[in-house]
Amino acid sequence: MSRLAKQIGLPRLPAVLSPVRRFRALDFPLRAPSTPRGVAPLPAVRRTGVDYDTEWARRKPARMVRAAIIEGPMRFAVSGLAAPDRRGQDRLLGLEGPIIFAANHHSHLDTPLLLTSIPAPWRHKVVVAAASDYFFGTRVTGTLSSLVIGAIPIERTKVERRSANTAAELIDEGWSLLIFPEGGRSPDGWGQTFRGGAAYLAAKTGVPVVPIHLEGTGRILRKGRSLPRPSTTSVTFGRPLKPTDDENAVRFGARIEREVAALADEASSDWYRARLRAHAGTSPGLTGPETGRWRRAWALGDRARGAKRRTRNWPDI
């Protein structure tokens, strides 16, 4: 083509730059300035972990998308995988304003299960306290976590006042908080000692804590497993708790743990026997016996009520 243009005497067209070259050819202020030599550059702004800004995920468009996800695919998946038996929602009757929901934690399924179980006034205005190192490790996971479950990053490996302050501000703005006080999923099926976050926030903001016990999610997708196996679950909501005048955050945290343990007892026996044991201080603990690993695993079998096991007839007849 260029030879033909030469033969017929057409003038030569200027070369067209590729988009990349064009971008590189731009100069300041269309392009970021370079740092002069001899000047210390500013430290890079971190946009992951606790520094991820989730404010956009609490604006109306994101909330609408989240509501659609929760009520649509999430609810469908949860009922298919977990067949939840939800109890005790009537204990929330009459409550107004934000609530801190504190639940035990076995599985990644816990959050979707709770987001589809928390009653309607709170369900669509709740943020989930999520581990900043895990859920906000990259911008992509952070964006997805904030959009889909309304996660906010919480530092769990070191004492960080910033996370707590953010959570407290959101509660003051009317957002409820879903928190797993154990700080992570159960490694062996038994619970872990509750940390003081929920109690501290309740004391700081004056909102009630609703203890929740989840049972069965570990059977579906326990820590370390990547594919879920459908089973049955139960979600038991407890009575709202507030710290008493003579109760500091540590004591209140311990009471929240005891209440969740009592709910676990209620889910595995019956309400009245659970109350008898709770008042006598003999509710079975969440953390299991302090014995060797195999004995802990052995004891776990007692609590797995309703676990479905596949039976196979042999020989086939």
């Binding site: 109890r87 009537d90 009757l93 009459g94 019956d270 309400w271 026997r273 109350r275 008898l276 709770a278």
Partner: protein
């Protein structure tokens, strides 16, 4: 909702004098409605009070009632390890319609049980105090008490229906000074503490009637559920003028002296039967305040109900759960507690009315205490109209002696075969012979009460006791004696005549028929009920 002015400042009930500008008045008509134009200048309509505000924190109010009881020790101090505790509660005949979950009984019993658990009480039984009513099904018990209580007690046979015909399950506590036998459920009688959880929807409920009737059997109940007592109860909604209650209180004395220690918990609810919003809210409004939306809702609902088969209408109405709110809860000594309860009850229900009327009208709704999840048969129509609605007075009856009662109800010749077997025989055989309550009582009551098959159905199926239809008839005995004529508008003619009443196709026909008895241009009073009201007639 919280800012709704009707909630903040409910208006009291009142009497409207009908004039030419008064719109047609709403009449309940079973599982449907009628709008009737009442004659101007000689008719009046009594409207119920708007719902009183509910207690802001029911849980806290219940707790305070239990730890600060009236003329009794705090409940926690009555609980001891090793004791025998029985909690009895009102059956599904209260409230009407059933209330939205959680039912008040669940809220109270959970707190009572929590106190018992704190004291380490292991031996706890829960009994539905249903006297001679039908047994409650599992679903009904779960509705009243919640799943937590049901799952904790029912599997161990510690939650069950009272069985007044269990030969090993009843005891005699003694007799009153009027020689009335007092019988009681054995487990309740032998308990160290009997906690009774009551729900007062009308002033007839509660007090010693709860235990003396609810946990009793035929041999005890027959002393006050009879024609003579009912005729002397003027009215049985006014405890201090009711022979029914005097008898129950005498039996209460015997229970006090020879029975278990009773800790009574009584509650009252407001008039929020149909809610402030929703499809039925229009039924709670005064006709001239119906908005365009209310009118459209009513017309749509009425048209839909007209087109529906009876079963569909029944299903819809039986599914309605009223958003009642707790207006008071008090606990402790039976007599003292009940007086406070009555005050709260009257505060919601009483409407001052001057003078009696020649003709009393009302529309009967789809439900009465004995057809929850069931069929409103003709006997229940009679009982609701001549028993309950007629007796909604204090002082003197709304209608003058010899006056006419006009009720609106379809009165189908239809019975629930499981719930009301003895009603069928009573209606088809006995009423064909006589409608005189005294004669029925004298000739047939004992036979029905002791019929083995009815007893079997009462104990093992879900049937009302064999004697129950007699009580329905006695319930209206005072009205039958008082009234000159009873007319049912829009009812099945055969069924209405079998009841001994007169059928009329329209309200105009009924008013003309009434003039044969009370003369031309009679005064007319319409009781705009439900929501519930009680006329304080002076």
């Amino acid at each position: 909702m919280a800012s709704d002015p009707r909630r903040k400042a409910p208006r009291p009930g009142f009497v409207l004098d009908v004039d030419r500008s008064t719109p047609p008045i709403l009449f309940h008509h079973g599982d449907n409605f009628r709008l009737e134009k009442l004659p101007a200048d000689r008719s009046r309509v009594i409207y119920p009070a708007e719902p009183l505000p509910g207690l802001p924190d029911p849980e806290e109010s219940i707790y305070q009632a239990l730890i600060n009881p009236i003329d009794d020790d705090p409940l926690p101090s009555l609980m001891k390890p090793g004791m025998k505790l029985t909690i009895a509660f009102d059956d599904l005949s209260l409230p009407l319609p059933k209330m939205r979950k959680p039912d008040i009984r669940q809220r109270i019993i959970e707190q009572v049980l929590d106190i018992a658990a704190a004291a380490g009480v292991d031996d706890v039984h829960l009994i539905a105090a249903l006297a001679l009513h039908r047994r409650m099904t599992e679903a009904e018990l779960r509705h009243c008490l919640g799943d937590r209580i049901y799952d904790a007690f029912a599997p161990q046979d510690a939650l069950y229906n009272h069985d007044a015909e269990d030969p090993d399950g009843m005891v005699e506590l003694g007799t009153t000074r009027h020689d009335e036998l007092v019988t009681m459920n054995k487990r309740a009688a032998e308990s160290d503490l009997l906690v009774y959880v009551n729900l007062n929807i009308v002033s007839m409920d509660g007090g010693w009637k709860s235990t003396a009737t609810g946990l009793s059997g035929y041999s005890g109940i027959k002393h006050h559920h009879n024609v003579a007592t009912m005729r002397e109860s003027k009215s049985f909604m006014d405890r201090h003028s009711s022979e029914l209650h005097h008898s129950n209180w005498r039996q209460g004395e015997v229970i006090k002296n020879h029975g278990p220690r009773v800790f009574q918990i009584e509650t009252t609810i407001n008039n929020n039967t149909f809610g402030y919003d929703g499809p039925l809210s229009v039924l709670q409004k005064r006709e001239w305040e119906w908005t365009a939306r209310d009118r459209a809702t009513f017309m749509g609902m009425k048209k839909g109900l007209d087109l529906m088969p009876t079963s569909a209408r029944r299903k819809i109405f039986n599914g309605w759960e009223a958003p009642y709110e707790l207006t008071s809860v008090q606990a402790g000594n039976v007599d003292s507690v009940h007086e406070v309860t009555l005050e709260h009850c009257f505060k919601q229900h009483l409407v001052p009315v001057e003078g009696q009327t020649d003709v009393l009208t009302f529309g009967l709704p789809y439900i009465c205490p004995y057809n929850v999840n069931s069929v409103m048969n003709p006997l229940l129509v009679m009982c609701l109209g001549l028993g309950y609605f007629f007796n909604m007075y204090r002082g003197k009856p709304l209608v003058r002696e010899g006056g006419v009662l006009i009720m609106s109800h379809p009165t189908p010749w239809e019975f629930h075969p499981v719930h009301h077997p003895s009603y069928i025989d009573f209606f088809e055989q006995l009423l064909a012979e006589t409608t005189d309550p005294l004669e029925l009582e004298k000739k047939y009551e004992k036979q029905f009460a002791e019929d083995e098959w009815y007893i079997h159905l009462y104990r093992n199926s879900y049937a009302y006791h064999g004697v129950h239809p007699f009580y329905m008839w006695y319930w209206g005995a005072h009205a039958l004696q008082w009234l000159g004529r009873v007319i049912i508008v829009g009812g099945d003619q055969r069924a209405v005549r079998r009841l001994g009443f007169q059928p009329a196709s329209t309200m105009q026909d009924a008013l003309e028929m009434a003039s044969d008895v009370v003369g031309p241009r009679p005064s007319i009073t319409h009781l705009h009920n439900p929501p519930i009201l009680m006329a304080d007639v002076t």
